[in-house]
């Protein structure tokens, strides 16, 4: 059966209310088109996981899709604050948002444990910070060999991981390159994987620094040209920095954000 579906079909079949969803892409290849589809379908009560919530989760949070956020840095990169995220944490609008907050190393190692089939990963970190007392899924551990105090972070296995890649081939293998962040670990940690791609090609060109995800771990592929905009897709288009700056004004007030949802056709 073909894994190629429309984005609408892929989200409808594989993402459900209450699921834990990871949408990764570290400033590059952020799966915005898939997030817009989730808003359009009115999914709710999601646990959203992402190292950098970025504009993509600011939108999902503001649209009321999320009940919990697992993250490690919640700003508008290079611009400032995420206003919808702040409004949810500070004022509970549009609904209260539970948070589970990590460091980048902590959250990336939660994915790594999930991808490698272990119950936890070990890092040197969190000790001496106040994070360790407010964050679940982090615990102090003693090294059985040296007696050192280290930190264990629990495995993370999302119901669905959604990523955006430059290319799929006709067999449904996936190729992404440039800054590939945590996508491979997030995909391999998940029960189901949805990938949106810029285009389908006959064969991948040999490239240094490319990451290939084999078809057999992918649940569905949707072709979504410009699907990472306003972030960028290396060798396809650059970051729409004006859109990142403009987001600050759009997201500032609840009214302007809701008007934006309607104007983008994400809400009637």
């Amino acid at each position: 059966m073909s894994k190629f579906k429309s984005l609408e079909e892929a989200i409808k079949e594989l993402v459900h209310d209450g699921d834990t969803i990871a949408m990764e892409g570290f400033t590059h290849l952020i799966p915005f088109a898939a997030a817009n589809e989730i808003i359009r379908q009115g999914l709710s009560d999601l646990t959203l996981v992402r190292m950098t919530p970025d504009l993509i989760y600011d939108r999902l949070i503001g649209a009321g899709c999320a009940s919990k956020l697992v993250f490690s840095w919640g700003g508008n990169p290079g611009v400032g604050s995420l206003n919808r995220f702040r409004d949810a944490v500070q004022n509970g609008w549009p609904k209260p948002l539970e948070i589970e907050e990590h460091t980048h190393a902590g959250l990336s190692n939660r994915y790594l444990a999930g991808a490698t089939g272990l119950p936890f990963a070990v890092i040197r970190g969190y000790q001496g910070t106040d994070l360790i007392s407010v964050t679940n899924n982090v615990a102090e551990i003693t090294c059985p060999f040296t007696g050192e105090r280290l930190t264990a972070v629990a495995a993370l296995n999302p119901d669905v991981t959604i990523i955006h890649a430059q290319q799929a081939d006709r067999e449904g293998n996936i190729c992404l390159w440039g800054i590939t962040g945590i996508q491979k670990e997030a995909a391999l940690a998940a029960k189901k994987v949805i990938v949106t791609v810029e285009e389908v090609v006959d064969a991948f060109a040999p490239r240094s620094n490319s990451t290939v995800i084999p078809s057999f771990v992918v649940s569905a592929i949707a072709i979504a040209p410009h699907g990472a905009s306003p972030s960028y897709a290396l060798d396809y288009y650059i970051r729409d920095n004006d859109a990142y700056i403009a987001w600050n004004a759009i997201s500032k007030e609840r009214e302007s954000f809701e008007a934006w949802l309607v104007s983008e056709g994400l809400r009637k």
Binding site: H28, W73, F85, A105, T129, I182, E185
Partner: protein
Amino acid sequence: MMTVSAARTLKNGDSCFVGIGIPSTAAILAKATHAPDLVLIYESGTIDTNPTRLPLSIGDGELAQTALTVVSIPEIFNYWLQPGRIKIGFLGAAQVDKFGNINTTFIGGTYKNPTVRLPGAGGATEIAGACQDTTIICRQSTRTFLEKIDFITSVGYGSGPNSRKSYGLIGNGPTTVITDLGILEPDPDSCELTLTKIHQNVDVDAVIAATGWKLKISKDLEVTTPPTDQELLFLRKLNPPKKS
């Protein structure tokens, strides 16, 4: 002056873990002037990158395209940062205490009900832990330099000289704190941040007044060298004044 001071802390041949904003500008300035062999590393996974313009974000395509190599996020933190391979890390802060502990999580209220929610840790906690030396860059006022900060996101010297060892942190901690008024460095015995340099035309009393704890002043207080023409020219080229 903060940017120039930050650039001057970088030596030729150092490796530097860089963030967006002043750290990027300072690192690019250092590389263009006195430290051409400086190795720039960004948490997005770009190693030995050579940007010709200021990156718009930590994962700007410019950083990937000019890098010696690009690695994944778990690799940058687990293989490169955690073992202490990187010499210098730059850190920003919303609040700093006298032991160089940093808050970037929230201001006012409680953790669960913050008055102002900030972005959080990102890579800062592990940079603070594992880089050999860290440089904190932060504007100095009684709102930012506090006796007690609202939340410890990243550890400086904890509660004094023995804290870092007890937490298992392998780096030396914050060796330099650069502000718009001067430069603070930890006292070799107590680890308390002490004013060691002051920028030209800044009054010591003004620095004391802008600090939320009883600031100690070094006996050998120096005045920083103002930016050179070469430094200013390069900064203007890199960061042209915005048209309003």
